[in-house]
C-alpha cells in the first residue's frame, strides 16, 4: 500500500530543494526569469507541505502537538508567512536560506525517534487547540524574525565591507528588513503572549501550583520577557541596528534550541504540547 504521507513529504522536500537551487540561481546570477521559477517552485513546495500536514491531521497519522508534528507545522507556517510576505516585500534574496530551513522542519518527522503520545481527557479540549495554534504561529513568527535579523546583520556587514555580497547581493534593503523585523516582532509578541497565557491556564489546571517550576514554562516566560524587552526597546528606546539584530537572533536561537532540545535534556512535562506517558 502506498504511504501517501511519505509521498507528499518527499514531493515537498524535492520541491524545496529545487526552490533552494532556483533561489541560489536568482541570488548569484540575478536572471529575471530565475525569480519566477524560484517562486513557482516554492509555491509547489508549500502546497505539498500543506497537503502533508492536512493528510496527517485528517487521517490521524499525526498527533497534533507531538514534537515532530509541531516542527512540521512550524516549518509550514514559516514558509507560508514568508510566501505571504513576498507579495508585499521583495524577499526573493532570502529564499535560498528559507527554503532549506522549511525543508529541515519537514524532515524532523523522520529524524525524531518515534514516541507514543496520548492525550488525556483534561487537555483534549478546544482550549488546548487554541494554545497549540497560537504557540505554533508564535514560534514560526519568531523563527522568521530571527531570519530577518540574520539577513540584516549580513546586509550590514556587506555594506560596511563595501562588498556587493556575491550570493547575498540580492538581500532586501536594510531599512525594509528593519521595518519587517519590527512588524514581525509586534505579531510575535501578540501570539507568544496569547500562547503563554493559554498554556499557563492549562498547565495550572493540570499540574496545579507546580506549573511555574516546569523548565518549559520557565523558558517560555523568559523568552516572552526577551520579546517584550526587544519590543519596548524598538518602540520606545530607539534600540535598533546591529545590537537589536543580534539580540533578536539570540532570542530566536534560544527559542529554537528550547523547542528541540529541552524535552531531551530536562524532565519537562511539556513535550511539544502533550504529556508523554
Amino acid at each position: 500500500m502506498i504511504d501517501w504521507m511519505t509521498v507528499l513529504s518527499l514531493s515537498a522536500l524535492i520541491a524545496y530543494a529545487a526552490a533552494t537551487l532556483a533561489f541560489v540561481w536568482f541570488a548569484s546570477l540575478a536572471r529575471p526569469l530565475s525569480k519566477f521559477v524560484a517562486y513557482g517552485l516554492l509555491f509547489a513546495a508549500v502546497t505539498f507541505h500543506v497537503a502533508t500536514v492536512a493528510f496527517g491531521l485528517i487521517f490521524g497519522t499525526s498527533t497534533l502537538g507531538a514534537l515532530p508534528d509541531t516542527a512540521l507545522s512550524i516549518s509550514l507556517l514559516f514558509a507560508l508567512i514568508f510566501s505571504g510576505l513576498c507579495w508585499r516585500f521583495n524577499l526573493a534574496g532570502l529564499g535560498f536560506i528559507l527554503a532549506p530551513l522549511a525543508a529541515l522542519g519537514l524532515t524532523s518527522q523522520w529524524m525524531s525517534p518515534a514516541h507514543e503520545f496520548h492525550t488525556t481527557p483534561l487537555v483534549d479540549t478546544v482550549w488546548l487547540g487554541m494554545h497549540i495554534a497560537v504557540a505554533v504561529l508564535g514560534d514560526a513568527l519568531l523563527l522568521l524574525l530571527g531570519l530577518m535579523a540574520f539577513a540584516f546583520l549580513l546586509q550590514d556587514r556587506f555594506l560596511r565591507q563595501k562588498k556587493m555580497g556575491g550570493l547575498f547581493a540580492k538581500l532586501p534593503p536594510l531599512t525594509e528588513l528593519d521595518r519587517l523585523a519590527l512588524l514581525l516582532l509586534i505579531t510575535t509578541f501578540v501570539f507568544s503572549t496569547a500562547g503563554m497565557l493559554t498554556g499557563s491556564v492549562l498547565a495550572y489546571q493540570y499540574w496545579g501550583q507546580e506549573w511555574y517550576t516546569d523548565p518549559r514554562q520557565i523558558l517560555s516566560i523568559s523568552l516572552w520577557f526577551g520579546i517584550s524587552l526587544l519590543l519596548y526597546g524598538r518602540l520606545l528606546a530607539g534600540f535598533r541596528g546591529r545590537r537589536a539584530a543580534w539580540c533578536t537572533l539570540a532570542v530566536a536561537c534560544v527559542s529554537l534550541c528550547g523547542l528541540t532540545l529541552l524535552p531531551t535534556i530536562s524532565s519537562t512535562k511539556h513535550q511539544g504540547g502533550y504529556v508523554a506517558h
Binding site: A30, L33, L159, M164, P173, L174, D178
Partner: protein
C-alpha cells in the same frame, strides 16, 4: 495614437485607437515568407565611428522625422525606411536592393550635414563632396544589418552596455516609421525580431543589473539601504559637477534636497538647478540629523564632517541608517565615522571599486547576450534559407510543368495529324523533355568544369543534387 504590445510570440502588434492594426500580427514564419532579408540595408554612424560633434549635426529632429521618412519612401530607390536617432547613433534602416540605394542614403546624410552647417545644399549633393563622411558611415546589408539592429536594441552597442533606454528608443523609432507609413513588411519583420531578441536578452541575462557609473553605484547603494521606493531627504555638500551628477542619479520624485555651500550665492544658484533648499555651512550640523543621504563633494584641506558631527547626528536620528557618500579628495568626511552605528560611509575609491566589480559582471552578461543573438541569427538564417529552398523547388516544379505542357502540345499536334502516337514518337517526346530539363544543369556543369580544380566542390554538390556517385 499608437499603442504597442508584445504578444506571446513577441511579435509587436501596433493598434491605433480605432482598432486598426499596423504591421503583421502573426509569428515569424509568416513574416519570413513575405520578406526578402537581403534587401535590408543599414547606413549610419555611432559613437564608435564619429564624435559627438559629427553625430549632433547628422541627427534628425523629431518634428521633421515623419516628413523625412515619407520623402525617403517616395524615392525610387527606397521601399521602406526607419530612422534610429539616439544620442549614441544615427542609423537609417531601409529596404532597397540596388547599389544606388546606399549611394542615395549617403547623399541624404551629406545633405543633412550641409543643412546642419546652415549652408545651402545643392540638389545633387553626393557623397563625393564629403569623402570623410562616406568613410565614417557604417554600412550593413541583409542578415548583418538585422544582427546589428538586434545588437543595438539589446544595448550591446551602447557606450554603457546594458543601459535600458536604447530599447525604448528603437521601439519609438519603429513606431514613428509605422505612423509615417514608411515601415512595411520588411521593417515590421526586422524590428519585431530585434525587439523580441532584446526582450529575450533582458529576461535571460542580468545585463541591466549592477551599476557601472559612479552615479548609479551611489544609487545602487542607496537602494540597498533604503529600497527603491522610500522617500529620502538628502544633503549635498558642495556645488561641483560630480555632486550634481550624483544627485541627478540619486534623487527621484518625492525626494527632498538641501544644498550646503560655503558661498550662499553658489548654494542658491545650485539649488535652483536642482529645485532644492539652499543652506549655509553654519546650518549643516543642525540639518544633518534629518538627512538620510549626505553627498559631500567640496574642496577642503580638512574634513568638514568629523566623527563627532556624525555621532551627534546619528544619536539624534536614533541610529536610523544614513548613507554618506564622500566624493571629495581630500576627503570631506572623517574616515573613522564609518564605525558609527547606522552610518554607512563610502568614498570615491569605494565607489570605483563597486563600479569595477559590476563592469566585470556586465561584461560576462554581455557575452551571454551575444550568444543569444548569434543563436537567433542562426535560427533566422536557417528559416530564410528554408524559404529560399521552397521558392527554388516551386520554380523548378513550374519549369518542369511548363516543359511538360510544351511537349504535350507537340504530342497533341502529332496525334491530330496521324491519329495515333507510335513508340518512336513517344520516345522522341520523352527524350526531348529530359534534354530540356537537363539542359541548364549540363551547361552549368560544363562551365564549372572549365574552372578546373576550383570547381570540384560545386561539381560534388551537383552530383549530390542529382543523386549521383552513390
Amino acid at each position: 495614437m499608437l499603442h504597442t504590445e508584445i504578444d506571446v510570440n513577441t511579435a509587436l502588434v501596433l493598434t491605433s485607437e480605432d482598432g486598426a492594426e499596423h504591421g503583421e500580427q502573426s509569428d515569424a514564419k509568416t513574416f519570413a515568407s513575405s520578406v526578402n532579408i537581403d534587401t535590408l540595408n543599414m547606413v549610419g554612424l555611432s559613437f564608435r565611428h564619429a564624435p559627438i560633434e559629427i553625430r549632433e549635426r547628422l541627427a534628425f529632429d523629431a518634428q521633421s522625422l515623419p516628413q523625412v521618412l515619407t520623402s525617403l519612401v517616395n524615392t525610387p530607390h527606397i521601399g521602406e525606411a526607419v530612422l534610429v536617432n539616439t544620442c549614441n547613433r544615427v542609423e537609417l534602416y531601409v529596404q532597397g536592393k540596388s547599389s544606388e540605394t546606399l549611394q542615395f542614403i549617403e547623399s541624404i546624410f551629406a545633405r543633412q550635414w550641409h543643412a546642419a552647417n546652415e549652408s545651402s545644399a545643392p540638389a545633387n549633393t553626393s557623397k563625393d563632396e564629403l569623402p570623410w563622411l562616406a568613410e565614417a558611415l557604417v554600412k550593413r546589408q541583409g542578415i548583418d544589418a538585422l544582427k546589428h539592429l538586434m545588437t543595438v536594441a539589446s544595448s550591446l552597442d551602447s557606450q554603457i552596455v546594458g543601459e535600458p533606454q536604447v530599447l525604448g528608443q528603437v521601439k519609438d523609432a519603429y513606431l514613428s516609421a509605422c505612423a509615417a507609413g514608411s515601415a512595411g513588411a520588411l521593417m515590421h519583420y526586422a524590428f519585431q525580431q530585434a525587439l523580441k531578441v532584446a526582450k529575450r536578452v533582458r529576461t535571460n541575462t542580468a545585463i541591466a543589473e549592477h551599476a557601472v557609473t559612479l552615479g548609479f553605484a551611489a544609487k545602487e547603494l542607496a537602494d540597498r539601504i533604503f529600497g527603491p521606493t522610500k522617500k529620502l531627504h538628502a544633503i549635498v555638500l558642495g556645488t561641483g559637477d560630480m555632486a550634481e551628477s550624483c544627485v541627478k542619479h540619486l534623487l527621484k520624485k518625492g525626494h527632498t534636497l538641501s544644498v550646503v555651500s560655503r558661498s550662499k550665492t553658489r548654494a542658491e544658484a545650485f539649488s535652483k538647478v536642482l529645485d532644492a533648499e539652499a543652506l549655509s555651512l553654519e546650518h549643516l550640523a543642525a540639518a544633518l540629523p534629518k538627512a538620510d543621504l549626505v553627498i559631500a563633494s567640496t574642496t577642503t584641506a580638512k574634513p568638514i564632517l568629523t566623527e563627532a558631527h556624525l555621532k551627534a547626528a546619528m544619536k539624534k536620528r536614533r541610529h536610523s541608517p544614513t548613507l554618506y557618500i564622500d566624493l571629495g579628495v581630500p576627503r570631506n568626511i572623517e574616515p573613522l565615522s564609518q564605525a558609527i552605528e547606522g552610518a554607512y560611509l563610502y568614498n570615491v575609491d569605494d565607489l570605483h571599486g563597486i563600479v569595477r566589480q559590476n563592469t566585470k559582471h556586465r561584461e560576462h552578461e554581455a557575452d551571454i547576450a551575444r550568444q543569444i543573438i548569434d543563436e537567433e541569427i542562426v535560427s533566422l538564417s536557417s528559416k530564410i534559407e528554408e524559404q529560399r529552398a521552397t521558392k527554388l523547388i516551386v520554380e523548378l516544379k513550374m519549369r518542369a510543368e511548363h516543359l511538360v505542357s510544351q511537349e504535350l502540345k507537340k504530342a497533341k499536334i502529332l496525334l491530330a495529324q496521324h491519329g495515333e502516337l507510335n513508340e518512336i514518337a513517344l520516345h522522341h517526346m520523352l527524350l526531348s523533355l529530359s534534354n530540356k530539363l537537363l539542359h541548364q544543369p549540363i551547361i552549368q556543369m560544363k562551365n564549372l568544369a572549365q574552372k578546373g580544380p576550383a570547381a570540384s566542390q560545386e561539381l560534388e554538390l551537383a552530383a549530390q543534387l542529382f543523386g549521383l556517385n552513390k
